[in-house]
Symmetry: C2
Subunit: 441 residues, 2 copies
Amino acid sequence: MADTENTLSMDKIVSLAKRRGFIFQSSEIYGGLNGFWDYGPYGVRMKRAIEQLWWREMVETRDNVEGLDSTIICHPQVWKASGHLDQFSDDMCDCRDCKARHRVDMMEDPKVCSNCGSSNLTEPRAFNLMMKTFVGPVADDEHTAYLRAETCQPIFVDFHNVRIASRQKLPFGIAQIGKAFRNEINPRNFTFRSREFTQMEMEFFCEEADSMEWFDYWKEQRISYYRGKLGFGDDFMRIHEHDKLAHYAKAAIDIEVKFPFGWGELEGVHHRGVWDMSRHEEFSGKEQLYIDHDNHRKVMPTVIETSVGLDRTFLALLCKAYDEENLGEDKDGQPDIRTVLRFPAIIAPVQAAILPLSKKLSDNARELYNKLNRYFRCEFDVTGSIGKRYRRQDEIGTPYCVTFDFDSLEDKAVTVRHRDSMEQDRVAISELRDYLEKLID
Amino acid sequence: MADTENTLSMDKIVSLAKRRGFIFQSSEIYGGLNGFWDYGPYGVRMKRAIEQLWWREMVETRDNVEGLDSTIICHPQVWKASGHLDQFSDDMCDCRDCKARHRVDMMEDPKVCSNCGSSNLTEPRAFNLMMKTFVGPVADDEHTAYLRAETCQPIFVDFHNVRIASRQKLPFGIAQIGKAFRNEINPRNFTFRSREFTQMEMEFFCEEADSMEWFDYWKEQRISYYRGKLGFGDDFMRIHEHDKLAHYAKAAIDIEVKFPFGWGELEGVHHRGVWDMSRHEEFSGKEQLYIDHDNHRKVMPTVIETSVGLDRTFLALLCKAYDEENLGEDKDGQPDIRTVLRFPAIIAPVQAAILPLSKKLSDNARELYNKLNRYFRCEFDVTGSIGKRYRRQDEIGTPYCVTFDFDSLEDKAVTVRHRDSMEQDRVAISELRDYLEKLID
C-alpha cells in the first residue's frame, strides 16, 4: 500500500505533528508504547474543536438526540451480550524464525512471513482484542472486567434510563464521545490504528418500519457534515457500501477518506436491527421493549448507528490540510516553499493570531487579543519578523493573522491576512468580531 | 459521619440525579458495578460545562499554560518512577466471620469489624490501587501496563516535548483533563469516591527560588475560582493546610467543601519540589534539566500542582444547589414545596428554557430557541401548564425561563422568569442575547 512518495508524506506529517505540538508518542522518554499517542498543545485544541463540532452537530442542535457519558469499564456481561468476548478477535500467527507476529487477514501471502520470507509459521490462533483488567481486590476471573472496545454498548445498556429521564419517545437518539481500547496486534499508520482512541457514536432508536428511512437520513446527514463542515470533496471522500451484511442488519456504509497510505474508514453508518437491544434483554434478564402508549403495543427498538473515529478524523484533516506551496524564489535566489495546513477555520487549533508589528505595540495588541480570545481560539505572538510569524502560523493552519501596526493607533483598524490567499484586508477593530465570526462559522 | 438527616439528604440527591438524568449507576441492568457511574443527558451537559469552565480559566485565558491530552495507558515505568507501583496502596484486612473487607485507616477501631463486630480479623495487607491491563498479545508480566492513577504523571513525562513545541520558558504550566482509575477497596458516598473518575490537573514548572511565590499565587487563584465562579462561600468551603509534608514538598493545601456526609477534598494545591522530574530523569535515563540560556545554567524545574476531581466538583455543586423551598400552601391547602437546584448559571445544564405559553405559539418560540441555542445551553419545552414547566426547570436548576406568550407576537418581547427569586422581567427579543449574556457570565 505504501510507496515511497506516500511514506515520505506520512513522515513529514508525523514530524510536523511532533515539532509543532500536535501529536507526540506516548511515554517517549521511556521508549514509547506502540499504538499510544498523546495530543500536545495545538493537538488538544484541535481535538477539542472536532469534539465540540460533532457534539454541536449531533446533540446540541437536535431535540431528538440526548447526550451520555458512561464509564470505560462496564459490567463484563455487557461484552458477553455484545458478542465481543466470544467473537471480537483477529486470527494471528507467529513466524518461528524471526518471531514477527502477523494478523492473518493482513498478510499478502498467509503462508509466508512478510518480514523475513520464512514459511515456518505457526497455525493461526484467535486473539481477543478486548483489554482486560480487574476490579476489586483480587486479580481472578470473578473480578475480571474489560475496557470498552466501543462506546456504543453502554448506550444500549442505558437506553431506558436515558429515555425515562429525558421523556423522549421513539424515534430518538443517544450520543456519546469517549475513549475505547483495542489490543491491536499491529498498530500502524500513525494514529489511524491505535490501541487507545476516541470514538464519537450516536445510536438512533426507531421503529423497524421506519428504519431504512432513518438510515438514509443519517447517511445523508453525515456525508454532508464531512462535505460541508470539514471540506472533504469528492476527490477525498468515497462511500463504501458493504456487500456482506451481518444477519441482523439491513444496510451498512462506511465513509472513507484518502490518506497518504490509502483509503481509510472514518465513519460507519450502520443499520443494526434489534440485535443489540435483544441481546441485552437476553443477557440481563430485564425486558428492554419500548412501550408505545399511543398504540398500546410494545416494540423492540431498531437501531441506526453513526460511529466516528475522532483520531482518524484528526489525522485525515491533518493529511488533507498539508501543503507545500512554491512561492517562487526568496531573496537569496532559493526556492521559497511555504508549508501550510489548510484547515477549515472551524477546527483550526488557532483561529486568529494577534500580532503586534512591533514590540512597542504589544500592550495595544494584547488588549485586542484579550477581547477576541473570548470568542475564538486565539494566539498572541510578538517574537520574530512579521513574515516569520506568518509562516509559523501557516504551519499550524491559522486561517487569519491580525496585525496591529502603528496606523492602528490612529485609524482603529487592523490588517487581517488570509492564510490561503495571503491577501490582506483592513478591518475596523469595532467590526472585527463580526468579520471573523462570518468567516469562521 | 453520616447521621439520619445526612443520609436522607444524600438519598434525595441520588434519587433526583437518577430521575432527572444527571447520574445513573453504570451497567444498571446487569446489577451495576460498584464505584462506576454514568452521566445522563443533563449530567453530561453539566460535566462538559465544568470542564470547559476550568479549561477556559486555566488554559485558554493564560499564555503561560499549555494544554495536553495524553493516553490513559502509559509505559509501566512511568508508575515505577512515580512511586505508584511500590507505594500506592492501602492497608486492608478481612473479617473472617462476615467476609467484609476494610481499609484499615478508615476503621474506627482497627481491631473490630465495623460490619459485624467480630474481632476475628486478618492481619493488614498492602493492596495496590493501580488497575492493571495487558498490552500486546500475551497476558504476562512483560506485557503488563496500568491505567493511570492520576493525570499528572504524563504531564511530567511530556514536559520537554511540550516545552519545545510551544517555545515556552520557565515559568509555565501544562494542564490536562482526563480519566484516572483507582481500584478503591470501598467506593462510597455516591460519586465522591469512585473507581473511574475525571481529573483536571495543572502542573506549573518554575525555579525553586520562586516556587513559594507561585504556590501562593495558585492557591489564591484556585480559591477565588471556587468563590467567584462556583459560588462556594466561607460556610461551604475551607482550606486544610497539611501538617505533614512529603519530604520533597514545601507546602500543601487542600480545598475542602461541605457535603451532606461531611467535609471532602475537591482540590489539592501542592508544592512537589523537583521530585517528579528527578524521578523521571532517574528512571528514563534521559536528562530532564531545563536549560536557562539567558544565565547559562541548567535547572531541574520545581513543580506546583493544582489538582481537581471533576466528579467531586459536580457532586459538590449538586449538593450545595439542592433546596426545598416552602412556598406556603397550594390551591388544595397542601404545603407547596418547590425543589430547586440553585446552580451558578455558568455550569447549569440548561441555562435558558424557551417555553411557548400555548402550543399555538410553538413555531415562533422555536425560532427564538434556535437563535439562543447558538449561544447558551437551551431547552425547548411545550408540554404541560406553564407552572409545571417552571417547576420542572427549577428541579434541574435552569436559571432563566423565557416564556413566549401571545403578547410577544405584538410587542416582540418575552417574559424572563428568574429561578431563585421567581421574579419576572419583560425583555425585548432583540436584546435577549445581551441580557442573558450579562446574567450568565
